[in-house]
């Protein structure tokens, strides 16, 4: 036992010593570090110059990246597909190797590699909710875009922090409302709801008439969709979620929480949705089990797809603008996914060229045909609606023009921790464990604590 204790103590001491060595800095070390830093700065300047040259070349469509190989890490729905990759290789000489990784794992792999100063991949998936932390951690290479491009792609705002564009969106997603016209008509409602009061009245009429047992569907489970649902509701209903100092806007968020709670206590929401996933909630509109929901943009395609929508519901779901307080809301929340370039990549210029190529109007349309990614450029959406590629758009384009980010200072770097607190409190509230006020207080104090850090 004594020997064991001695070994453990020695191990502990060695680790402490290592730590102490790591944190201590001698004058010699500082000098060496300064020289190294100067060298790194020089090489970074050279790289920046090279990068600018390559970017200029790519804008002119003349980028020659022969022999360069890029790695790309994306979820299956973000894979551009072999044809597009081959086309990029033919145009530039650059080969891209794609690794499909589950969405959650990408973030883990990127962070673990970054701890060791490595790039998990040259190009990787960047979800809108990750951009704040990835920016603070310095994992993303900024990308230059023209003012014209930025104006055509409102979702770029989500990936912009302090004027820097950190990733380029490839899959557009913003919240849009869907309602079952047949259910509404049977309940004697001929007009689409324009305000949340209209929605509540319609839900009551539909439920009371026995047309649909649970006419309202909204994710309320303890998962990310619980946070985003509260955020878009407060955003569309009251036009504000966060104050300028980053704290939660009490009036708006509490109002949204109260609305959510009323929908549950009035029996308009299936109790199973309190533990179901977001997709379980959204799919209810396609199965005819609900009459109204606010959901992802891709359901615009699903509602006309016989494989995704029940036969008796096909053609009866209409995408409409999000309701507001006085009339339809003048805004919606974007939740896009993007391709980012690793700050640790050894082929930054090629990676930036590739990401910009994928973001071009022509390729966005190809990407939609290859993997169903909704384009981010409003001009492309308009073209695709006009040529019939998107069959049942409803208010899709109109809603796309109302995209605004609810984060006044960009997505905060503590988003994951904040979101965890938000969805757990929303879930506690709908399960009856907390009042809307208690849920808000818990969220508010956590956000303030995170801001103070």
């Amino acid at each position: 036992m004594k020997k064991r204790s001695l070994i453990m103590a020695l191990g502990l001491a060695a680790s402490m010593a290592l730590t102490a060595c790591g944190s201590g800095e001698s004058t010699e070390e500082s000098t060496a570090a300064e020289t190294e830093a100067a060298e790194v700065e020089d090489s970074e300047e050279e790289k920046e110059a090279e990068s600018k040259e390559a970017e200029e070349a790519s804008e002119e469509g003349t980028a020659d990246l022969t022999g360069v190989e890029l790695s790309m890490m994306v979820p299956d729905w973000g894979n551009p597909g072999e044809e597009l990759l081959k086309r990029f290789e033919e145009e530039t000489g650059c080969k891209v190797n794609v690794t499909e990784v589950s969405w959650d794992d990408i973030r883990d792999k990127v962070s673990i590699a970054a701890v060791g100063g490595q790039a998990a991949a040259d190009v990787f998936e960047v979800d809108w909710s990750w951009v704040g932390e990835m920016n603070s951690a310095g994992w993303l290479e900024p990308i230059e875009m023209t003012a014209e491009d930025i104006a055509d792609e409102p979702t770029i705002e989500t990936f912009t922090i302090d004027g820097k564009i950190l990733a380029l969106p490839y899959a557009n997603d913003y919240r849009i409302a869907y309602y079952n016209t047949e259910h509404f008509e049977k309940a004697g409602i001929t007009e689409a709801p324009e305000t949340w009061e209209d929605v509540e009245a319609a839900m009551k009429a539909i439920k009371d008439a026995g047309i649909c047992e649970y006419p309202f569907s909204m994710p309320m489970g303890a998962e990310e969709a619980g946070t985003t649902s509260l955020t878009w509701l407060a955003w569309a209903k009251n036009g504000v979620v966060f104050n300028d100092d980053g704290t939660l806007n009490k009036d708006s968020v509490l109002d949204a929480l109260t609305f959510e709670n009323n929908m549950v206590t009035s029996g308009y929401v299936d109790p199973a949705m309190r533990t179901a996933t977001g997709m379980d909630c959204y799919n209810k509109i396609c199965s005819g089990e609900t009459s109204f929901m606010v959901g992802p943009t891709k359901f615009v395609n699903f509602i006309s797809d016989p494989e995704k929508t029940a036969e008796d519901v096909l053609g009866k779901i209409e995408p409409i603008l999000l309701p507001g307080t006085e009339g339809v809301s003048d805004r919606t929340m974007p939740l896009p996914e993007a391709y980012g370039v690793s700050a640790y990549s050894e082929n930054k210029e090629a990676a930036v060229t590739f990401v910009k190529w994928l973001n071009s109007a022509e390729i966005e349309k190809e990407l939609y045909l290859a993997n169903g990614s909704i384009p981010n450029r409003n001009s492309v959406i308009a073209d695709m609606i006009a040529d019939g590629t998107i069959k049942t758009p409803g208010a899709m384009l109109e809603q796309a023009e109302l995209i605004k980010s609810p984060f006044p200072n960009g997505v905060p770097d503590f988003y994951a921790e904040m979101s965890n607190t938000m969805y757990n409190n929303v879930n506690s509230m709908v399960l009856g464990d907390k009042t809307p006020e208690e849920a808000f207080e818990a969220m508010d104090s956590k956000v303030k604590e995170l801001l103070a850090q």
Binding site: G11, T19, S111, N424, S428
Partner: protein, 314 residues
């Protein structure tokens, strides 16, 4: 068989001259260390170095989103974790799971072993079927059971409603106690086969003569079970229990697939994952890793002790 080449080599060494013998003796002394070296390098690189680095992280304020704000803070991370409500809540859940998973796994595992110990034509088939849940990936296991316990259209709710046991579907996954019970059942379903196989191996080692002698002395089935089967199976049950304990502390996939990362069902491992990889707080996450490691080490010691227990037939 493995000793044969060494015996031949030693015989060869003894037969050489004294000078050559001295060299060979030296070589003989070094050889074991050289043979150990590759494994030692691997262990240092893949086990001891990460353990040391994790420990050094645990003593730092180290959040990946603030790369310029890394500093040595001693044991502050440990103190803050031990004082936090999140840790206590997760610890309670972990202990609940530990107790229920061990009980369920042991009871069902041993019962399974008793059934499989009865020899008949289909013994092999039953054994193969019994092992299946153990071979199933935990995440798949969790997803299957989520469908079974789904509040709306889940099998259990449909069964209960059909049998008239309840009028409305039960929300199995939103209440803390119910959720932890479900997680315990799901995990026990996966870990019971291993416990059963270990116990079955133990049952096979009990000499039949003992039962014959007991029968001659007038012992009935229950008496033989109580005085022969159970005491002689205890070391194997002990192995099964400690293995179940390690499984219970390490439950992750089942909880995630049943209730996501909700506060309701989170155990220490989920809390650790959230802190380290979701909130990117490597300092506090590393400290939590060490706390979990100390807890599981205690269980590991029990496991090793139960392995070393001797079986007495007296």
């Amino acid at each position: 068989m493995l000793r044969q080449p060494f015996l031949l080599y030693n015989t060869y060494v003894e037969n050489t001259s004294s000078e050559e013998g001295a060299v060979k003796k030296l070589y003989n002394k070094i050889l074991p260390y050289m043979l150990l070296l590759p494994m030692l390098i691997l262990m240092i690189a893949l086990v001891y170095y990460p353990i040391a680095v994790t420990f050094s992280y645990s003593l730092k304020k180290m959040k990946l989103t603030r790369p310029n704000d890394v500093e040595f803070i001693g044991l502050k991370n440990y103190i803050e974790i031990l004082k936090s409500e999140d840790f206590l809540y997760s610890l309670q859940n972990t202990l609940f799971l530990l107790i229920f998973v061990v009980i369920l796994t042991t009871v069902f595992g041993f019962a399974l072993a008793l059934i499989l110990n009865r020899e008949h034509k289909l013994s092999g088939l039953f054994l193969a079927i019994a092992i299946l849940p153990w071979a199933m990936p935990p995440i798949v296991n969790g997803i299957i059971w989520k469908f079974i316990f789904f509040p709306g259209y889940g099998f259990i709710n449909k069964l209960f409603i059909a049998l008239g046991l309840t009028e409305k579907p039960i929300d199995w996954l939103s209440d803390r106690s119910l959720l932890l019970m479900v997680v315990s059942v799901v995990t026990a379903w996966r870990s019971a086969p291993f416990c059963g196989i270990v116990c079955l191996a133990g049952l096979k080692t009990i000499p039949k003569e003992l039962y014959e002698a007991a029968a001659i002395d007038g012992s009935g089935t229950f008496s033989s079970f109580r005085h022969i089967t159970l005491p002689l199976s205890l070391p194997f049950i002990g192995i099964g229990m400690t293995s179940a304990s390690v499984t219970a502390v390490n439950i992750f996939d089942e909880i995630v697939s049943l209730s996501g990362f909700s506060d309701t069902g989170k155990n220490l491992l989920i809390q650790n994952y959230l802190t380290t990889f979701s909130f990117l707080d490597f300092g506090r996450g590393s400290a939590l890793t060490y706390i979990i490691m100390i807890l599981t080490s205690g269980i590991g010691v029990l496991y090793l002790r139960s392995l070393n227990k001797e079986v007495s037939y007296q």
